[in-house]
Symmetry: C2
Subunit: 208 residues, 2 copies
DNA sequence: CTATTTGAACTGACTGGTCAGTACAAAGGA
DNA sequence: TCCTTTGTACTGACCAGTCAGTTCAAATAG
């Protein structure tokens, strides 16, 4: 993750800092995901991380900056995984692998899904700019898969990849959240299977 | 919409009150949708509605109660419209009409879509119970359409209506929000068309 | 090898401001 | 007459951000 700050001693510097930042990330993600950025106090985050309040400001400068770092970090992780899955040779396989990665990621970091869904479409918002970037990042990856799918005629005539990408993202996000919040008893395989079957319906091999 | 508070005098009660409540709903919906419930003050809502702060408390009792009323009111409106569309004779037509209504509703009340998306999957949350009810309300309607679709073999083998319902809701919500927030230049017809085409892909007539 | 210095990392009490909710006297309206 | 609204003033809790001071590991000096 982010390189050590401009320090001169280059070497092992900031092993401590990096650990602290990680603790703060974990704590902040959990709390902010559950109760929203505005619903959590810096004191709570610090307490949850087992760190003094000043440390938050030492490391991130402000509450907003902490949340922004959280968003970037999470999306970087997600897009990395999606990107890797999305380049599989066969477009259909790539789509399924991408869906798989997204579900896996949201299952692994449900709080991030909550944070994302609750901040992504806020209109003025402290993170407009960042969020726009992040959105484009994900959208581009999904569009890539869908474009290739369209090229090999595996998408119904007339479907716009851009719309399909938004729809796919919405589906993945909402299915994951619904699973986590309202049906935690369902297994990952079960959810995965339902979504994949569903998506094959629209983007399956056209072999009938 | 929601009946006057436990009033005794039944009759013409609250013509004025109803107007005041409506002004508060409109103002609160706009502000809360944009900045989130925690990001808006009661003073702002009162000012936006052109009403004294005390009036908010006279009519709703608390900020939380106001937001809860807002959620209920909005979902009542939405589910009413969806329900009406969902009972069309032909399942495919019912699905398309339902999609149409949902997109229309979210286009008409984008702030409600924002409020919903940012509160729906919050885990402890002041409105857990209410939101759970609301979610079931919508989910049931969508499931109804999809079940009928499955009965008439227009859904791919193995698709679970419950998952499909969540997916559909996620698609509608996210496509609407993306349209409103990131692509406001697109026309309603254009968006509608792309979604309908997309959905026909998975739930179209199996006539190949 | 021991003593001293340096500075990044961290601490937590404190401040200034914000905001939900209350109080209440004085209208206005049916 | 009673229900509703207004406007203003107030309270008490809460909270983002600050800052003077502490800790400690590594660098430097003797």
């Amino acid at each position: 993750m982010s390189a050590p700050r401009g320090g001169r001693t280059g070497a092992t510097r900031s092993v401590r800092t990096e650990a602290t930042k990680q603790k703060l990330f974990d704590a902040a993600l959990r709390l902010v995901g559950e109760r929203g950025a505005a619903g959590v106090t810096v004191d709570e985050i610090a307490a949850e991380a087992g760190v003094a309040k000043g440390t938050v400001y030492y490391n991130f400068g402000s509450k907003d900056a902490l949340v922004e770092a959280l968003l970037r970090h999470g999306v970087d992780l997600l897009s990395e995984r999606l990107r890797r899955a999305s380049v599989l040779e066969d477009p259909s396989e790539a789509l399924e692998a991408t869906v798989d990665e997204a579900l896996g990621f949201f299952a692994e970091y449900p709080s991030f899904a909550q944070l994302l869904v609750s901040e992504m479409w806020r209109t003025p918002g402290a993170w407009r700019e960042t969020l726009e970037l992040l959105r484009d990042d994900i959208a581009l990856i999904l569009r890539g898969v869908l474009d290739r799918l369209a090229e090999s005629r595996r998408l119904p005539e007339g479907v716009r990849p851009a719309t399909a990408a938004a729809a796919l993202f919405g589906t993945l996000l909402v299915v994951s959240l619904d699973w986590h919040v309202f049906h935690p008893e369902r297994t990952k395989e079960d959810v995965r299977e339902s979504v994949v079957v569903l998506i094959r319906g629209v983007a399956g091999r056209r072999d009938c």
